[in-house]
Symmetry: C2
Subunit: 220 residues, 2 copies
């Protein structure tokens, strides 16, 4: 056996991961179907989450699974308020475009997942200077879940246009918990080949040359 | 052709992703070798990063690639200061254990990567209420890179025991940029079968039952 766990993956495995990463999409309301999610698929997605890295092995995540339509509607009402405020921050053509976009699938998706950061009452190894390493661990879990959902043919949408304090209140979340993200999960009628915001020209895709810096930023 | 991009992945693909996720490790100093990273592997890792989801398709990431040993040594000096402070926050057996752990591989790894969040000067769709959605997008990129590195047999270690302002200053980073994470990347002599902090009993692995809540938190 390979006791050092080296060379465990083939070039084909690398290309599988690449295809999953490139075909993952942020899914909005009009794409979700009402088809139920198989419990074993949901379990695989959650397992992908809890196998994420976490600062000091603190595993500071909690996942609230929401099927109750009344709770979803309360969250949707929060979205509506924030979305109106959000849209007002844009002007001209972008404001028009914004108003036409369907930005969430809260009530359409069969399952919502609220993902929380639960701080530790004790010092956490690695989190003594950069406190954000805790919430960031939770985001690593989310990205694992997103990829696993895509491989299982399930769409996930991140709904960030909500007031986290209001959603915490709807879910009775403990005071010290931080809402990291709120998600809609479900089967979809299609996955776009490229992101919707790229298709409609909301913004352009950056290349590596746009985002890579060598050694140091140039002295201003 | 499959124009709706459904059923693109087989059960074998799912299991490949699962194996990559479960075998990913946070790699520390004593495991890195000095072997150079092939440029095409590094490019695949960075491409995995820039294909991550980002709020409003803002792609707010920047990656500083550091080979210069002098810069690494300056960052290592920052680590030493914060690590001393960090260790002092633990007591008893944990303090002993902490002092014996090698928590970074800054100078041993052939490449360091500082990953920044670069805020947009304009409003960003989806980031109008939850400002953290910007930094969180960058963490999604980091997790994609971590998985791709593992599939390519490269180890990545997240060094969070540093003062981000000091590292920004070492790298001449623009004032408005936020350091999200600092990483060591390189070939390793082995990948642990399970995380080191789990092996030494620093903390116990949580199960799904520990972290899943249904519908709402119970009323206190």
């Amino acid at each position: 056996m390979n006791r050092k766990n080296l060379n465990m993956f083939t070039l084909e495995d690398v290309s599988t991961l690449e295809r999953i990463i490139k075909n993952r999409r942020d899914v909005r309301g009009s794409r979700f179907t009402s088809q139920e999610i198989e419990p074993e698929k949901l379990e695989r997605i959650l397992h992908a989450g809890i196998n994420a890295p976490s600062v000091g092995f603190s595993q500071p995540w909690e996942f609230v699974l929401i099927k109750n339509q009344k709770i979803k509607e309360q969250v949707k009402a929060c979205f509506n308020v924030e979305n109106k405020k959000g849209g007002a921050q844009f002007s001209g053509a972008k404001q028009d475009l914004y108003s036409k976009l369907k930005l969430e699938g809260i009530t359409e998706a069969p399952l919502n997942i609220a993902v929380f950061y639960k701080p530790s009452p004790h010092p956490v190894l690695g989190q003594t200077t950069m406190k954000d390493a805790g919430p960031f661990s939770v985001v690593c879990a989310i990205q694992n879940m997103w990829l696993m959902a895509r491989a299982l043919d399930l769409g996930l949408g991140w709904i960030s246009i909500i007031d986290p304090e209001q959603v915490k209140s709807i879910l009775n979340a403990p005071e010290d918990h931080q809402l990291i993200g709120y998600f809609a999960l479900g089967y979809v009628d299609q996955f776009y080949a490229i992101p919707e915001l790229e298709t409609i020209g909301w913004d352009q895709r950056k290349s590596l040359a746009d985002v890579v810096v060598y050694e140091q930023y140039p002295t201003p």
